[in-house]
Amino acid sequence: MAFLPQERLVPLLTLLSDRMEVVAPILVEGVPVFASWSGQPLALKDNPLMPPQEFFLPQREVLFRYIQDCGSYSFEEAAGKARLIFGIRPCDLRALAVLDRIFGSDPMDQSYFDKRRSTVLVALNCNEPGENCFCDHLGFGPTCSEAVDLQLTEIDKGYLVESGSPAGILILKEHPEFFLETSQSHLLEKCEMLGQAREAMNSCIARSLPGIKEAIKKADWNALGRTCLNCGSCTFVCPVCHCFTIQDLGVPDGERMRCRDTCLLSGFSRMAGGANPRISQGDRMQNWYLDKFEYIPQRTGLLGCVGCGRCSRVCLAEMDRWSLEVKR
């Protein structure tokens, strides 16, 4: 545990960026996004709309190259690159924990774990939850509930830094000049900040796990399906959603690509012969909710939703995503 004075954050990141790509929330035309950081002003107020999950499971990535040679083939894989992600929030960190369990189940997904292993995570606890956030209602956050290399909490004039892994400890050890000793009062301050954050969240959003489960039981899926505009946004912004498809690009040499997919499209489950086990949009929406709140918990022990609220921000349909009522 250490204290990082406010003004030393950027110099520390600058130093680290010599060794690896530093990814942090920055502004592009005013829009906060996670992207390569090279000294731009940090945008630490809101959690970006796209979660940093894409650094482990990109929207498109090359699984391997195939190279044809005299009728046979050889293969090339790319190596993961060393990266530090600064500013990942507790909800997105939690989502990574879910993905770790899914992609780590036998047989392990090498491509995912290559990136996972070569990435250092520096989390930022949330002092000011966004208007759609409801992690606390799901029983964790707005502080990190998983082990993470480093976690920062903004307190008066700086950050309380806590390490949770050898990689994190190493950063503290290697750069002692940036950090100050912590005191008990720092910890108290952290607790107080996060307590306030929790209250702020609870006062603006009334959502509960039992409430959501009840809504899923009662929902009129056909009515919901009729208003869904098949945009896939709710799945593309979700830090837990991880559906993908695999596709080849190029002959005779080319790339086998992994591309993000969404279970809300009818082609997702349609089989080669044309039969489709989830025929209506309502079926597909129901499956999405059941996956998050029943199936993923059954498989991984963790909820498939981390309460980041992103899906409510992007939905094109006129429905309340949590009471599952169609607005008229």
Partner: protein, 673 residues
């Protein structure tokens, strides 16, 4: 990973998005929460907008025809051959033997330069683009009625409406973001009336659904006006203060009773009366329409009928009211604004009136003879009177009506240059093929259907030797003896701003995530959301009486069904990009003709069966999709698929005013194959 703010290329909504770039490659896209219309949302096409960019099929090198093969050459060779051949044709047969077809998918800068190339370089007004095929009637009709052919309000204004009439637009599929605002209004209690022969998703959510027989829109729209007048739901104050010509319209619609309209359109009279009451008594009513209104021989009149409705009820110039024409391609609006039209310079300045202004600006003599529309050019080409054609970013072989006719025309050309990002059915016929940069590889601006001018930004390098069109066209301009030393797209916009009153205040440094809505006459002007608020640019808005005319082709014994064509959510235009996007291609991998179960039963056609669709012009083979969504007596074919190109079937019958072809009504028959 870098992220670059840009604009979606798939429809006129013009959503803001970010391209994700890793190691010089587009690896994803995501919505821009700051974009004032899309607000951090996208439809499925927008999410996948970057995927086709690195497709191996991209054109990488300039090609010229040697015998029956296209072979790789240098840019110098390709461009000097182009310039020399065009010049030779002009010398022999005069400049009007040349033509330029631009693209509603190209940027404003490119469209501007192309119209400059045609007029200042080739000395012809023969320049046109694909808007002719979807929204020429909007430009013609609304310019007459309101003085401007553009959408009257920002899209977001729809959310404030208390009644919305949607006509001939499958909004949820073709303009999903507009649909989201319609749903928002509906969620807040607005009454929704949807008129469409097909049972679209929106029709399923409507308070009232009207299913007119294709080609009878004027009849039933006039009936709405009839009831509105009868029941005194008109806004007399507005009519008196701000319009002219209402009496003629009142006279004409007198006979258009709901009962009379029922006989023509097949919509029950009481539904028409109810629709009229919903619309007429709403505090804020809006009309949304798309190609279903315009792609008819009566296209311009259809648009006027809607304008009459809006004017009579005073639903214009205020939040939540207005007329919302929805443009298919991302830059139909901009291509029109930029004067890629045979009779207009940029900013809708008439060739006849503004020629001197442009001669002065461009320092050259300009042609005064009126130019030809796209289909007129192709007709002349077939006759051998138009010999050289420069086509940029367009695939007439697929997108223009009556493909076999188009093929003949293109083959008759002496010299065809095609500039595109992928090989197409049209580039296969070209003498010179120029590889272009895609939207992710160049700078420029698009103008969305809500008049929002917004930037696209270069995110990655173009493949091979492909270049941005604006650079290619500058080069050609130069070779044609017109100075064109633009260092950047921003510089071209400076020139546009200086010549286009509506764009007067548009400069790249002002175009952030939000863009600017025209009219924006000066640097300090914030842009204009709602048009016609205080006054119409023509003084008073103009009513014009319009009457029902039967479509050119009616169903008969030989061809007993009415064929309409259109698009699907998952594809755009001729599919060159969407069909190279895995999820979109998977969603609708194959063309299918939609047919009503009853017709299908009579003809012994099962769902999924291969069938043949025939019209007087040609036939295509595809699968049948039996669905209640298509009304009895009609069939529907999407036109994105080269394996069953719908435009083999369509006719070139034209709207006399706007010269739009009748895509929406052809007599057809269908049988098992």
């Amino acid at each position: 990973m870098e992220k670059v703010h840009t604009t979606c290329i798939y429809c006129g909504c013009g959503c803001g998005l970010l391209l994700h770039v890793e190691d010089g490659r587009v690896v994803g896209a995501s919505p821009s929460p700051l974009h004032p219309m899309s607000l951090g949302r996208l439809c499925i096409k927008g999410w996948l907008a970057g995927e086709f960019v690195d497709h191996p099929d991209r054109l990488r090198y300039p090609l010229i025809r040697r015998g029956d093969r296209l072979s790789r050459v240098t840019w110098e060779e390709a461009l000097s051959l182009t310039a020399a051949s065009l010049r030779a044709i002009a010398q022999e047969l005069g400049p009007n033997s040349l033509g330029v077809l631009t693209s509603a998918k190209g940027t404003n800068e490119e469209n501007y330069l192309l119209m400059k190339l045609a007029r200042a370089g080739l000395k012809t007004n023969n320049v046109d683009h694909v808007a002719r095929l979807c929204h020429a009637p909007t430009v013609a009709g609304l310019s007459y009625a309101f003085g401007s052919g553009a959408m009257t309000n920002p899209i977001a204004s729809l959310a404030q409406a208390t009644a919305i009439l949607v006509v001939g637009s499958n909004t949820t599929e073709q303009h999903p973001l507009v649909a989201s605002y319609i749903l928002e209004a509906r969620g807040k209690g607005a009454r929704l009336v949807v008129a469409d022969p097909r049972k679209t998703q929106l029709a399923g959510l409507a308070d009232l659904r009207l299913a007119p027989r294709p080609g009878t829109d004027i009849a039933w729209i006039n009936a709405l006006l009839n009831v509105i007048i009868q029941e005194n739901l008109i806004d007399q104050e507005f009519i008196d203060a701000r319009t002219e010509g209402f009496d003629a319209v009142r006279q004409t619609v007198l006979g258009s009773t709901p009962e009379a309209a029922e006989r023509i359109s097949g919509i029950p009279a009481h539904d028409l009366a109810e629709a009229a009451r919903i619309f007429g008594s709403a505090e804020r009513a809006a009309v949304v329409y798309a190609a279903g209104i315009t792609q008819h021989t009566t296209g311009t009149d259809n648009v006027q009928a809607l304008a009459n409705l809006v004017l009579a009820t005073g639903n214009i110039g205020r939040e939540g009211t207005g007329l919302y024409p929805l443009r298919e391609h991302q830059n139909v609006q901009g291509a029109c604004d930029m004067g890629a039209l045979p009779d207009l310079y940029c900013g809708y300045q008439k060739v006849a009136q503004a020629r001197q202004k442009f001669e002065q600006a461009w320092q050259t003599k300009l042609p005064d003879e009126p130019g030809l529309t796209a289909l007129e050019m192709l007709a002349l080409a077939e006759d051998g009177r138009l010999k050289g054609l420069f086509i940029v970013g367009e695939n007439p072989m697929m997108s223009y009506p009556d493909s076999s006719q188009i093929k003949k025309a293109l083959e008759a050309l002496e010299f065809l240059v095609v500039c595109d990002i992928f090989p197409t059915e049209t580039s296969e016929l070209a003498d010179v093929v120029l590889p272009a940069a895609s939207f992710a590889e160049k700078e420029g601006t698009f103008t969305s259907t809500e008049r929002r001018i917004q930037r696209i930004r270069r995110a990655v390098k173009a493949p091979g030797e492909a270049r941005a069109e604006w650079e290619i066209i500058s080069d050609l301009l130069h070779r044609m003896g017109v100075p064109a030393d633009y260092a950047s797209a921003a510089e071209i916009m400076e020139e546009i701003a200086s010549l286009t009153p509506q764009y007067g205040g548009v400069h790249y440094d002002r175009l952030g995530a939000c863009g600017l809505q025209w009219p924006c006459p000066s640097r300090d002007h914030p842009g204009t959301g709602i048009l016609h608020a205080e006054k119409f640019s023509i003084g008073r808005a103009r009513f014009r009486a319009v009457e029902h005319r039967e479509p050119v082709e009616a169903a008969d014994d030989e061809y007993p069904l009415i064929l309409t064509t259109g698009r699907s959510l998952y594809h755009s235009h001729t599919g060159t990009m969407t069909r190279r996007t895995s999820l979109l291609d998977r969603e609708v991998p194959l063309p299918a003709v939609e047919i009503n179960p009853e017709d299908a039963r009579l003809l012994g056609i099962r769902n999924g069966q291969p069938v043949m669709v025939e019209t007087r012009r040609g036939s295509i083979s595809l699968e049948a999709r039996v669905t209640e969504d298509t009304p009895k007596g009609s069939i529907f074919v999407p036109f994105h698929f080269s394996e069953a190109p719908a435009n083999v079937l369509t006719s070139q019958a034209l709207d006399p005013v706007s010269k739009i072809p009748e895509f929406k009504v052809s007599a057809a028959r269908i049988r098992r194959s």
